[in-house]
């Protein structure tokens, strides 16, 4: 696929003249453009992951079968959708699509029989321009132009002329009888992501999604979740250690991202997110100023541990989470009492914890977790 990218975007970057003098041009931009388009693919995948989160249990495979491959693993056999992502500043014409063999490449996926093909998508950041001929009422052939910029347009819904051309192209390139060419799975998807702002748009979509699930989520937490997801998808996309014919499990292992991983990211983010200290203090219902000050001190220590002692921090926060899951807070139970119960649970697992993490420390963690909606009173 990397080669394809190069082919698509950089075909003219290095040229040889057949005769005479050789002209060498230095390509200063295609590298960066390539990077950005890779990132855009990740943003698009993330975008689609958010869109599909509530409706599908999926595995995203980046940059292997196709630019983006989505496996619906909710039941077997898995259903799969393949997507190619093409970008252009202005528009892409159907002629370009045909000439670049994009349809042919997508159609090639129909030949695998292991999974059910759900969708074959051509994702563009710009409108798809089609020129076609129509015969008017007088029987004359006329040329017409149409642009497709909706979220999703089935190719079968395009003008017959266009459909015929596509079928003919596929038939020719893949040596399939034209009458056997099936375009029902093919869709054009106009993504709202732009080349310059794909990250922001994707992050915004994620923010809306997360806010609907948890209205207390902070901007920083959203950002952390987005960056984490992006990083995960990027890592998958970059991995190049697989051969072309490697097993599905290996592919998924190295190039795939499970929905559960996204779920884990979100859950961990909420676990470690620290609400503003004033919210924590208010929730603690401190009676005296002294209690309040001690709580603030503990808050700062938690922040510091989060930054400077990640491993230790992970241990204790997961321990506290475990304690919370085991001993859920009751409806009218005061935070202080609940904190004491949790402390006993935590300290019982390791004697050193009582020296390292005082009751105020544990209380801060508990309050943060409850405020982030990770745990609820029962």
């Amino acid at each position: 696929m990397a080669k394809d990218i190069i082919k698509v975007t950089g075909t003219k970057s290095l040229t040889k003249k057949s005769s005479g003098k050789k002209q060498v041009k230095i390509d200063k931009t295609s590298g960066a453009m390539a990077y950005n388009r890779l990132d855009m693919q990740v943003s698009q995948a993330l975008y689609m992951a958010i869109e599909l989160y509530d409706s599908l249990d999926y595995i995203f495979v980046m940059d292997h079968y196709d630019d983006i491959t989505i496996f619906d693993v909710s039941k077997k056999p898995y259903a799969v959708s393949y997507y190619q992502m093409k970008t252009h500043k202005k528009s892409i014409s159907i002629s370009t699509v045909l000439s670049q063999d994009w349809f042919a490449k997508l159609y090639a996926h129909l030949q695998q029989k292991e999974w059910i093909i759900k969708e074959l998508g051509l994702i563009t950041n710009c409108q798809l321009d089609v020129d076609f001929k129509v015969i008017d009422t007088k029987g004359k052939q006329k040329k017409q132009h149409k642009s497709y910029d909706k979220d999703r347009t089935a190719f079968t819904g395009m003008p017959q002329d266009v459909v015929d051309r596509i079928k003919k192209d596929i038939s020719t390139k893949l040596e399939i009888p034209i009458e056997e060419v099936d375009l029902t799975k093919f869709v054009h998807m106009h993504t709202e992501l732009s080349i310059g702002r794909h990250r922001e748009i994707a992050e915004g979509t994620l923010s809306e999604f997360l806010y609907k699930k948890n209205s207390t989520i902070t901007v920083e937490t959203v950002k952390a979740i987005f960056d984490s997801m992006f990083r995960l998808l990027s890592d998958r996309q970059k991995y190049e250690g697989l051969g072309e014919d490697c097993e599905f499990d290996s592919v998924v292992k190295y190039k795939g991202v499970y929905k559960s991983e996204f779920t884990k990211i979100m859950a961990d983010a909420l676990l470690i997110s620290m609400p503003p200290v004033r919210d924590v203090v208010n929730a603690a219902q401190c009676i005296t100023k002294e209690e309040e000050n001690k709580l603030c001190m503990a808050y700062v220590r938690v922040l510091e541990d989060q930054q400077s002692k990640p491993k230790a921090y992970k241990i204790i926060v997961l321990k506290v989470k475990e304690a919370i899951d085991t001993l859920q807070i009751k409806v009218d139970e005061p935070i202080s009492d609940y904190a004491l119960r949790i402390c006993r649970f935590v300290y019982s697992s390791n004697n050193n914890y009582s020296y390292l993490y005082g009751p105020d420390y544990i209380k801060v963690m508990i309050i943060c977790i409850i405020l982030n909606g990770v745990s609820h009173r029962v």
């Binding site: 920083e220 984490s228 995960l232 292992k253 470690i272 200290v277 603030c296 922040l303 510091e304």
Partner: protein, 569 residues
Amino acid sequence: MSETYFTKLLIADLINKEAAYQEFTKGFNVVTGHENHVGKSTILKSILHALGTEVYFSSKWTSNQKLYVLVINVNNVKYNLARWHNRFLLFKGNALVMVTDKVTKGLAQKLAEIFSFYVYLPSKNNKELELAPPAFTFLPYYIDQDKGWGEMYQSFLKLDQYNKADRLQCLYYHLGIFNKDTLALSNERDDLKRIFDQKLDEENRLRITIDNLTKEVNNLVPADNLDMLNENLRISKDRIENSIRKLGDLRNKIQELETMLHENYYHASIIKKIKKNNQPKELDENETCLRCPNCGYNITKDIFELVRSKYSEVNKKYIYDQIEYINNMISADLDKYKYDYIQTMQQMKQDEYVYNSNRDEYQTYLSQSGLRATLDKFNKNLTKLLGEKEEINNKLTQIRKKMRSLDSKHEIEDVYREYVKSNFRKLDVWDEEYINNIELLRPIKGQGGQVNKIVLAQFSALFKTMEHYRLEQMRFPFVVDSPRTNESSELSSQEIINIVFELKMLPQVILATTDFEKYYKGDIQDFNIITLDRPNHLLDEGTYEQNRELIDRLMAYFNSNELFGGKRK
């Protein structure tokens, strides 16, 4: 009208056995001569000397070896008054009615009874009224040749036994303004005023003292007994102890907050030091990748760590903001505690200053109760003093009321003033300067050649005033010695003589002057003219012999141990 006049005078020199004898008549008597040193003044001085006054005898006159006998007619009753040294014999007719060697307590008393004329003057020592000696009875009735013309009423010796301001009050008796009662009232008034002023001073001093004591007492713990004092001191000590406790708590709180602040800054510094690129490593392609077979969770790729590091990345500013927020809260609390600490410290110092816990409780009680007792005492004294002042004021008011009803003094003095003015004008000695300076008790001094006129004018005015009011007081003989002294002008001399003989209101005038006939052109038919013509020879043996029996008899009395208690002269 009561009147006294002299009829006879005998002067006997007991050593030289010489004597002089003169007779006087009621009315005008002139002792004159053409020469000086004939004894004119001596006769006049002897008259007054016999009456118990001290006169300015010439240094040559040996008064102590002389016997003086004066026959006095008091309202037609004849008295013989004999004087030898300071011993006096008084005969009423032939009956001895008084033997005394005390001028004031003896002679003055008797003469006052005889004359019914009392002069009381305030004693120099204790201001108590006492009967004045005869000199003050005769003060306005004698003008001494030497001492009488410079300053009025200075003709006698020993007048300074009374204060100058009090001496001339004897004139008020002659003018009927004073009697014993009124003078007593006046003196009582003066005494009371003096006492009132003293009490006023005392009151002012007391008030100052009371103010100072009150200030002192107000600074002390108000307590009526030791228990109450202890309670008050306990309260003050409690307050100080509370302040100390509070200071301790505040100090601890400040230290706590300082520590918190330090810790926060330390944590913030740690967070700052953490490198940005503290990110999880990318998955090594050679690394074994562990995944949960069910959910696919990549155990190797620690998602928690991924999320934590991303969270840390994006939250740096947020973290600093939270720590800053906490630090600001702590700093605000710190400032508040520091302020409270300073306030408490100041309050404690104030409490310590006012209620010094180092003072001995007993001493505190003593000084407090002592001061209170003193203050109470002073207050009582003040109350008493105010009461006394009130009483004195009431008395003064009463006296003033009484005196207003008796007081004709101003009117009489006004009349006197008019007579003086009239006399001054008549004698052509008037000066506009005198217009507001004519006062009975502050006679105008004569100056230069007009001395005698000025003096006589005022004496004359006095007598005319007596006559004006037809006063019942005793009138005595006016004895005038040498009124023409200092007069160079004949006309003036005449005028002076004329003034003297205008005094017809007096029972007797005895005038001593040289060349009387030369200067008096009036009718002298009724005048008793005594002419002396032997200078330095007033006394003679013949006269002594003629009066030997009387002299011896009297000397027998004077030398009697029985009469004078064995004291021989």
